[in-house]
């Protein structure tokens, strides 16, 4: 199973890094930029495909990969690659 995990700071948490990048973008000629939020992106490969594995992954997303006090996470399952049909 291949999953992508995106961890983002919660809206209430100040993201000074995002603000600094937002300001740099404005300085570089894009005053339209309203906000930038910076998070983390992780690609995880695991053996197995079942739902039990997925629920354990969710558990670790809450316990280790994100801190629910300051962050939200999203787990996206990558669809298994389709086998090419042979004519």
């Amino acid at each position: 199973m291949k999953v992508k995990v995106v961890v983002m700071p919660k809206a209430a948490v100040l993201d000074p890094q995002g603000n600094a990048v937002r300001d740099a973008m404005r300085h570089l000629g894009m005053p339209e930029v309203r906000s930038v939020r910076i998070g983390k992106y992780m690609e995880i490969e695991a053996d197995g495909e079942n739902g039990e594995l997925e629920s354990r992954l969710h558990e670790l997303c809450r316990d280790l990969l994100s801190n629910p006090v300051i962050e939200d996470y999203e787990l996206q399952k990558e669809k298994p690659a389709k086998r090419k049909r042979t004519k």
Partner: protein, 242 residues
């Protein structure tokens, strides 16, 4: 009286903690490697500063799963005194032993400085040797020391008098200029509801000798010693009564 100083891979204030604690008559500190599983022989536990596990993912995020943390958690629940300084504070928050979290400094800079903190609570096991409103000069050195808590947690912290230290100016005023990292309400250190777990970003371990510029940090270790002495005297008395 024995204090355990936990060594995580990446701790770098463990020696400072040992030196500060051993410098106080009546206290003895020992290193405990993070793979140990028991802290039964110790009267108090100290989680030192540093960069445990390189601070990968988040500060303290991996360290909280070290084998010793089971013992830290169970001993903390049983009422033993636990002190976390700097990285130790971050680990205690990640472990859920203290509320809130520590995030990147608002300035985005690593701050290494001597700061003034104001004692907000003078009857905690860690600060009863200090008067309320008195000032402690303590050094800080961190990149992720901005304390964050949501509105409800913050209200609880204030209502239960869990905020032990706030950053202040030299006259004890809480001002935005005297807040070195952007911590919410200038919070520098908090305790849990049961008041036996205390975490702070400043380093009492690096300010326990006047030759280092301040000996105010020793007041915290001394308060801990007095608390433990008083508690054991009480439990001895209750044993005799029983």
């Amino acid at each position: 009286m024995k204090f355990a100083v936990i060594q995580f891979p990446g701790s770098n204030c463990d020696q400072d903690c040992i030196a500060a604690i051993n410098g106080i008559a009546g206290l003895k500190a020992e290193y405990i490697w993070h793979k140990e599983t028991s802290l039964d022989n110790f009267d108090a536990i100290v989680l030192p500063g540093g960069f445990a596990y390189g601070d990968y993912l988040r500060c303290g995020a991996i360290a909280r799963f070290s084998p010793i943390m089971r013992a830290v958690t169970s001993d903390a629940r049983a009422g033993k005194l636990v002190l976390g300084t700097c990285n130790g504070f971050q680990i205690l928050c990640e472990a859920g032993l203290l509320p809130g979290a520590l995030v990147r400094n608002r300035s985005l800079r690593f701050v290494c400085d001597m700061v003034t903190t104001r004692v907000e609570v003078d009857d905690s096991p860690f600060t009863h040797g200090c008067q309320k409103g008195s000032l402690l000069r303590l050094p800080i050195a961190h990149g992720e020391g901005c304390f964050f808590a949501d509105t409800e947690t913050l209200r609880n912290l204030n209502d239960n008098r869990q905020v032990i230290l706030r950053y202040a100016d030299s006259r004890g005023r809480i001002l935005p200029e005297s807040n070195p990292n952007g911590s919410i309400e200038s919070i520098a250190g908090i305790c849990n509801r049961e008041r036996n777990v205390f975490g702070l970003m400043p380093h009492p371990d690096r300010a326990s000798d006047a030759r280092l510029g301040s000996a105010d940090g020793a007041k915290i270790f001394r308060s801990m010693m007095q608390t433990i002495t008083a508690n054991s005297a009480t439990s001895e008395r209750s044993k005799q009564v029983a």
